[in-house]
């Protein structure tokens, strides 16, 4: 039995490695190599090697694009956290069965493609859409509001699409929250604010960090939300990369932009890792609590 299991295991591992190598590592290496080649209108990218594309990144135009993307993503992440934290807390208070049902209901809409849901939001927000119809109907406004194609619409779309990614890690953190610690704190005279700030927040911080990262990173790249709901008025990192590949055909520069986004992601993950380590040391808690 045992040798067969070994064989099975190494086969599975090999297949996984092969898969990751072919579809994750190889494309990324190709992107990395392309980013140090020179652009050429006829052959996409040619020798010699150089770092011009990375120098171009520091053009104020692209820094502005980066700052715009950063601003939208941070705002969306912040709102997701503000809404998601109490949401996850309340959910974690329910019985396991009820909680599963509620979580299931939250996740069901997300089985539909996010692009389709974005189009649906577009219909709801239009001048003749449901939002305006209701507001007009109950007499809060006299003429339709311009909701669609505004920054509000973009943020709304991002928050809506990414909300579950914030809630799920938070719920798992709340799950692991040891209630006896809270009782102990109460016995020792800590008031509500202290219990929240000194115990609940630190113990759920891995969930907060994980949730923020999982929301923030996709938000940086979701250009179609800004295109559809914001009216394509802003260029975000995602648009910029797409344009470099399709319109300008400066593949090295497009690749350099992608690489810089990957580096940013890596930095944030490193930060996540370090923060976890710090929390572990500080709290003296076992690994299990922090997963």
């Amino acid at each position: 039995m045992k040798p067969r299991f070994e064989l099975f295991r190494s086969t599975i591992i090999l297949i996984t490695l092969f898969w990751l190598g072919l579809f994750v590592l190889a494309p990324h290496v190709m992107v990395l190599i392309t980013s140090v080649l020179s652009p050429d209108p006829n052959n996409l990218a040619v020798w010699p090697l150089n770092l011009n594309s990375y120098v171009n990144l520091w053009d104020s135009l692209y820094l502005n694009v980066f700052l715009d993307s950063l601003y939208l993503s941070l705002l969306a992440t912040g709102i997701c956290l503000l809404l998601g934290y109490p949401f996850a807390f309340i959910l974690s208070r329910f019985s396991p069965l009820l909680r599963s049902i509620l979580l299931f209901m939250m996740v069901v809409p997300f089985w539909t493609n996010s692009l389709i849901r974005t189009y649906a939001i577009k219909l709801l927000m239009g001048k003749k859409g449901l939002f305006n119809d209701v507001l007009l109907g109950v007499g809060i406004i006299d003429e339709p509001l311009q909701i669609l194609y505004t920054e509000f619409a973009v943020i709304f779309g991002l928050v809506y699409i990414l909300f579950p990614f914030m809630v799920l890690p938070l719920i798992s953190s709340f799950d692991k929250l040891d209630r006896s610690l809270l009782e102990a704190a109460r016995d020792l005279g800590a008031n509500g604010w202290h219990r929240f700030w000194r115990i609940i927040v630190p113990l759920t911080s891995p969930g907060i960090i994980a949730g923020c990262l999982i929301v923030f990173l996709p938000a940086m790249g979701m250009f179609y939300v800004a295109d559809l709901l914001g009216g394509a008025k802003n260029i975000l990192l995602g648009n910029l990369i797409k344009n470099q590949f399709l319109v300008v055909r400066d593949w090295p520069f497009g690749s350099a932009l992608s690489v810089s986004l990957i580096v940013l992601m890596a930095l944030l993950l490193w930060f996540y890792f370090k923060a976890n380590q710090y929390i572990q040391r500080k709290g003296g808690l076992d690994d299990d609590t922090l997963k």
Partner: protein, 343 residues
């Protein structure tokens, strides 16, 4: 065992493709072909058509360039991309002996500088970009020129197409320059002009510019004439204006990529599309003008006299057809990015 069981269907699939009588991959603009046309072609010739679509010349070009002209049998680039792709060896010359329908075409749209003697391309449809206006909300006569869009009262109200060449066309025309200029000073002046327009823009849309008009989100802006025709079925108040400075005209043409593996079928397909009854159907359903004179004659009188679809000669002469701007495209695009980031 596992591997072999996987291989069998793969090999089967390969042999099936090799044996299939004839097939054809047709790569067309989205919303640019009436339903049923492909089925009719397959019924008449037995050739299967694999149909895929694109939203911009750039996407179509990038795919062909990347695959060195392989993978597709018939594509539909706009004029200025025909010139570019021909020069880069991405297209193959047409065998005119197989295109008996060529004689149906309007000579005024043939033998143009982008493709002398139409060695590589056959016009499919032509159309224009002008001003769209919801006449229920705004008086039609109040807007006659591109420059009217610059009026401060349209703050946050306008739709522009999400197309760098078309948007620059407006400003270049207002400044009295050619819309196909490669002169850096003229492009910069156009950029400065467009900076003043940006506060008025509510939305950029090149997927289906008619939709924001129909949804009531915009009442004024740029639009393609065929989109107006399509929208009018549901929204008769949507009207189209040929601006005084000159509209943007384009021709989209059939061409066969250099790497096509079904050249025979591709010619049959193009010839099928040149048939008067098919050309008539396309023009009727899609709302753009057909270059097919025989097909034009089959159209209803009210379609033929519709100035939105078939503008008079003066309007066409006043406008400008898009041509390739070569390396200047990068300059246009740099300014475009600056416009959109607002810096």
């Amino acid at each position: 065992m596992k591997l072999r069981s996987l291989l069998v269907p793969v090999l089967l699939a390969c042999s099936v493709t090799a044996q299939a009588a004839e097939k054809l991959v047709f790569y067309n603009w989205s919303e640019y072909l009436p339903e049923g046309v492909l089925e009719q072609f397959t019924k008449e010739t037995g050739i299967e058509v694999d149909y895929t679509t694109f939203e911009s010349n750039e996407v179509m070009y990038s795919k062909l360039k990347l695959q060195k002209g392989k993978g597709y049998d018939v594509v539909v680039p706009s004029t200025y991309y025909i010139a570019k792709m021909r020069a880069e060896g991405l297209l193959q010359p047409l065998d005119k002996s197989k295109l008996s329908g060529l004689k149906n075409l309007n000579p005024a749209l043939l033998d143009k500088p982008y493709d002398p003697e139409n060695q590589y391309s056959v016009p499919y449809m032509w159309g224009s970009t002008g001003i769209g206006i919801n006449t229920e909300a705004l008086a039609k006569g109040s807007i006659t020129r591109w420059a009217d869009l610059w009026d401060a009262k349209w703050k946050n109200k306008l739709l522009l197409t999400d197309d760098v060449r078309e948007v620059f066309h407006m400003a270049l025309k207002i400044n009295g320059h050619s819309a196909n200029t490669t002169n850096p000073d003229e492009i910069r002046q156009a950029y400065e002009k467009l900076q003043q327009l940006m506060p008025n823009v509510l939305v950029f849309n090149s997927d289906a510019p008619r939709e924001p008009y129909m949804a009531g989100d915009v009442d004024l802006g740029m639009i393609w004439n065929g989109e107006v025709i399509m929208a009018q079925e549901e929204m008769p108040d949507l009207d189209y204006i040929y601006p005084k400075e000159g509209a943007i005209f384009w021709v989209d043409s059939f061409a066969i990529p250099a790497g096509s593996t079904n050249v025979e079928a591709a010619h049959k397909f193009i010839n099928f599309m040149l048939r008067p009854d098919i050309a008539k159907l396309c023009s009727e359903e899609i709302g753009y003008a057909t270059p097919n004179l025989k097909g034009y004659e089959l159209l209803d009188e009210n379609v033929r006299s519709n100035k939105i679809i078939f503008p008079d000669a003066d309007t066409v002469a006043n406008g400008e057809f898009q041509t390739d701007v070569g390396d200047a495209l990068k300059l246009y695009n740099d300014y475009w990015e600056k416009l959109k980031t607002g810096k």
